[in-house]
């Protein structure tokens, strides 16, 4: 893949991720997030910023599906 093509693709994903991050930040129930134990709270914040469910669930010490349920409770949408 040429450097130019790679750069365009990266730019496309950066734009998509910026949009998704904005929506996650707005929709998240920050009161719920702040009340969580430290590890869970940091994992939810990481997910809001990065949208990476695998690394976020590892940070939380949870299985992916359990973490997905936690995202619903925290009103954080998955945007794909």
């Amino acid at each position: 893949m040429s450097a130019e093509k790679m750069s365009k693709k990266i730019q496309k994903w950066i734009e998509l991720e910026e949009e998704a991050k904005r929506i996650r930040r707005v929709m998240a129930d920050w009161n719920f997030i702040e009340k969580q134990p430290p590890r869970i709270k940091e994992a939810l914040k990481y997910y809001v910023e990065k949208g990476d469910i695998r690394r976020a669930s590892l940070l939380a010490g949870m299985n992916v599906e359990e973490f997905r349920e936690l995202l619903r409770k925290a009103k954080i949408p998955v945007i794909v």
Binding site: M1, M6, K9, I10, W13, I14, L16, E19, A20, I23, K50, G51, D52, I53, R54, N63, V64, E65, E66, R68, E69, L71, R72, K75, I76, P77, V78, I79, V80
Partner: protein
């Protein structure tokens, strides 16, 4: 029937299993495979119950990965981690991509790492990947789902409400425009 086989990853199954019209999947595909690595990650009663029912009926089938598929998937994971700015693909999703490539199955995923891998890694750039959005579009095309032309967006909103899964604005608008055009043509 549109396609014979698909393979689903964890992120797809755990959202799709919450959708009120989840069984339409089996009107689109003869068999949807679930790798053992994916099945091991499913823990909720709702998802397990839906999977076990369809494993019994035959719409879903267990896929046992072979060592060479796991090895190729591991290489894909390593390669994705060397590309800056992208979400890396992890082993369960990488396995689905490798199996999809080798067996020409459609890969069902909601995982950004998997979608980025198809966009960036030549090893899997010919793999067909569908999100729930593409499944809903295909179901509408095949008239498995019917659009309410007074409220075409209802189909997408139902899925988003059931799962708390939002489609990117650009993709959502494109599909809504297409549904409006479809309604115009059907008048």
């Amino acid at each position: 029937m549109l396609h014979e086989f698909a393979i689903a990853d964890t992120c797809f199954l755990i959202d799709w299993a919450r959708y009120r019209r989840r069984d339409i999947l089996f009107k689109l595909f003869k068999t949807v495979f679930v790798p053992e690595a994916v099945l091991r990650e499913v823990v909720s009663e709702n998802t397990i119950s839906w999977i076990s029912r369809w494993l019994a009926k035959g719409g879903l089938a267990l896929y046992t990965e072979d060592p060479s598929e796991i090895e190729e998937a591991r290489k894909l994971v390593e390669k994705s981690r060397r590309i800056p700015h992208i979400i890396p693909v992890d082993l369960p999703e990488a396995l689905c991509l490798i199996i999809g490539k080798r067996r020409n199955y459609i890969v069902l995923t909601e995982n950004r790492g998997a979608l980025m891998a198809v966009d960036f890694l030549e090893e899997v750039n010919n793999v067909t990947v569908w999100r729930s959005l593409e499944i809903l579009v295909k179901a509408i095309e095949k008239e498995i789902l019917s659009i309410d032309c007074n409220d075409p967006e209802k189909i997408l909103k139902e899925y988003m409400n059931d799962t708390l899964h939002i489609f990117p604005r650009r993709d959502y608008n494109r599909v809504v425009r297409w549904m409006h055009e479809l309604c115009q043509r059907r008048k």
